[in-house]
């Protein structure tokens, strides 16, 4: 069984895991995801940042579009501030809900979110930084 990304051009894994954002050629502002049209160049976004805000999704989002697994398990989502780039909205993983707080150091990872045929579909997520106590 192999793993496939949830969509092309959302994140890359080679040589290392990074989100693919866009940077406007004139305003130099960053956006995520990379817009299909417009004057943007593709850029790899920083893989580490700090938690800007968060919540816990206690009820199952409507499915479709949500790739629901049974039974539904509540999950955390948040915004992570990536220094010098932007603030990205993301699922959060490998963290107890009660440990979430604004300013928590986070790093990029992937999570499984269902299957397409025989393939495991993966999306991006953020988890608390492995380098505990380290600056973001």
């Amino acid at each position: 069984m192999s793993t496939i990304p949830i969509a092309p051009n959302v994140f890359s894994t080679d040589p290392e895991l990074r989100l693919i954002g866009g940077r406007h050629r004139h305003s130099r502002k960053f956006v995520f995801p990379l817009p299909a049209a417009g004057d943007f160049e593709a850029v790899e976004l920083p893989a580490r940042g700090v938690l800007w805000s968060f919540t816990v999704q206690r009820f199952a989002p409507k499915s479709p579009p949500f790739r629901r697994t049974d039974p539904f398990v509540p999950f955390a989502v948040g915004y992570v501030e990536l220094p010098g780039a932007l603030i990205v909205e993301t699922p959060l993983t490998q963290v107890a809900f009660e440990d979430l707080h604004v300013g928590l150091a986070m790093e990029l990872t992937t999570i499984d979110c269902g299957r397409d045929g025989g393939d495991i579909v993966q999306t991006f997520a953020f988890r608390p930084s492995a380098s505990a106590g380290g600056a973001a």
């Binding site: 989502v77 603030i87 909205e89 269902g114 999306t123």
Partner: protein
């Protein structure tokens, strides 16, 4: 600026009405407003109206009468009612009509709203991973705000407690049973830090207002309540809105702040001149944040305001006197006009158990809708 007067108001009660469509509830509200104004449908020269999910307002002419009037449909999310009123006022100020109708209505199925990524210009994966949920946005805007300005979950509970207490006295409200603070705080979490009783529910209802030019209002002997100012604004750069996969590091203001400043400026008034306010309360935290965004207090002061009961019916600035969206539910197209309806009731002094116990001469209403639209109306008598 040419004055516009509100000479009639009508409402179909909010909540659930099984046998009536959204359009039926709009028709009910229109007949009530016409009766209130002492007018008939053929007197109306222009109409603005809308719903988010219950049909096209202009089809109402089938039931009301095919008088061939211009009838403009409006669709601006939760700000639909405010946008319709903005349009109706414009037509009367321009001299195109002396009498106008503004109507908002809706009928949503039970449960959270069900937006589609493609309708919002978002990729399919955004919905697949579970981010296409409006309540997450409210919770995350609030969490950030609470962290920055020292707002507690108790304050969130107090807003809902006040909403249910006020709604109990509003015949048009959906939730009419008071709930105590502990019940609200201990109810199941929906999106932390918000619990079930801190959120409004999608619902049903209809509201209609009859607008008149100064000349017509004098003729009708109805110059009691006029629209002192109305403003509507879309979001500025850097605002934080629903369904945003990323945000600029450089944060900006909100559509609410801009609409509020514009309305106060146009009215030549300030927040201290307001006797009663209806503020968009999609959830408890929205009311708290909107207190500051509309200029009524500084960020963080809400904690003390709520602890002191300053926004209760008998407080110095009563807010959401009919229980707001939390007690009335949220029929998207109708809520903005419900606020104006409630302000007219308060100014007429006919609020019964929810009547503000001192003269209401200047009343403020504010709606906010996705993805960043706000309208503010200031009434004066």
């Amino acid at each position: 600026m040419t004055d516009v007067y509100i000479v009639g108001i009508g409402i179909h009660r909010f909540g659930r009405t099984e046998n009536l469509s959204g359009l039926d509830q709009a028709e009910f509200a229109i007949h009530a407003a016409l009766k209130d104004a002492g007018l008939g449908w053929p007197d109306i020269q222009v109409a603005y109206g809308g719903s988010d999910a219950a049909g096209k307002a202009d089809t109402l002419v089938t039931q009301l009468g095919q008088t061939t009037l211009p009838f403009i449909n409006v669709l601006n999310g939760c700000a639909t009612g405010g946008a319709a009123l903005f349009g109706g006022c414009g037509a009367i100020r321009a001299g195109d009509a002396d009498l106008g109708l503004v109507v908002g209505f809706d009928k949503h199925p039970p449960g959270a709203f069900d937006p589609k990524p493609q309708d919002w210009g978002l990729p399919a994966w955004y919905g697949e991973v579970g981010l296409m949920v409006t309540t997450q946005f409210f919770a995350m805007k609030l969490r950030r705000y609470m962290d920055q300005h020292g707002i507690t979950t108790t304050a969130l509970g107090r807003v809902a407690e006040k909403a249910f207490a006020n709604g109990a006295h509003a015949p048009h409200a959906w939730r009419r049973v008071p709930l105590d603070l502990q019940t609200i705080l201990n109810s199941p979490k929906v999106n932390d830090p918000l619990t079930k009783y801190m959120f409004c529910s999608p619902g049903e209802g209809g509201v209609a207002l009859i607008l008149a030019s100064a000349r017509k209002a004098r003729q009708l002997g109805r110059t009691g309540i006029r629209i002192k100012a109305i403003s509507m604004r879309t979001r500025p750069a850097g605002s934080f809105e629903v369904f945003a996969p990323s945000l600029d590091l450089e944060r900006g203001g909100s559509a609410t702040e801009i609409a509020s400043r514009a309305a106060f400026e146009s009215a030549g008034l300030g927040p201290r001149d307001i006797d009663v306010a209806q503020l968009q309360d999609t959830e408890s935290g929205a009311e708290i944040m909107h207190m500051a965004e509309n200029g009524f207090c500084a960020d963080g002061e809400q904690e003390a305001w709520l602890a002191d009961g300053r926004t209760r019916i008998d407080g110095e600035l009563p807010i959401n006197t009919d229980g707001g969206c939390i007690a009335c539910g949220e029929p998207i197209g109708a809520s903005g006009l419900r606020q104006v309806y409630e302000n007219v009731v308060q100014m007429r002094g006919t609020g019964g158990g929810r009547q503000v116990p001192r003269p209401v001469r200047t009343a403020y209403s504010h709606v906010y809708g996705a993805p960043g639209v706000s309208a503010v109306v200031i009434l004066q008598c």
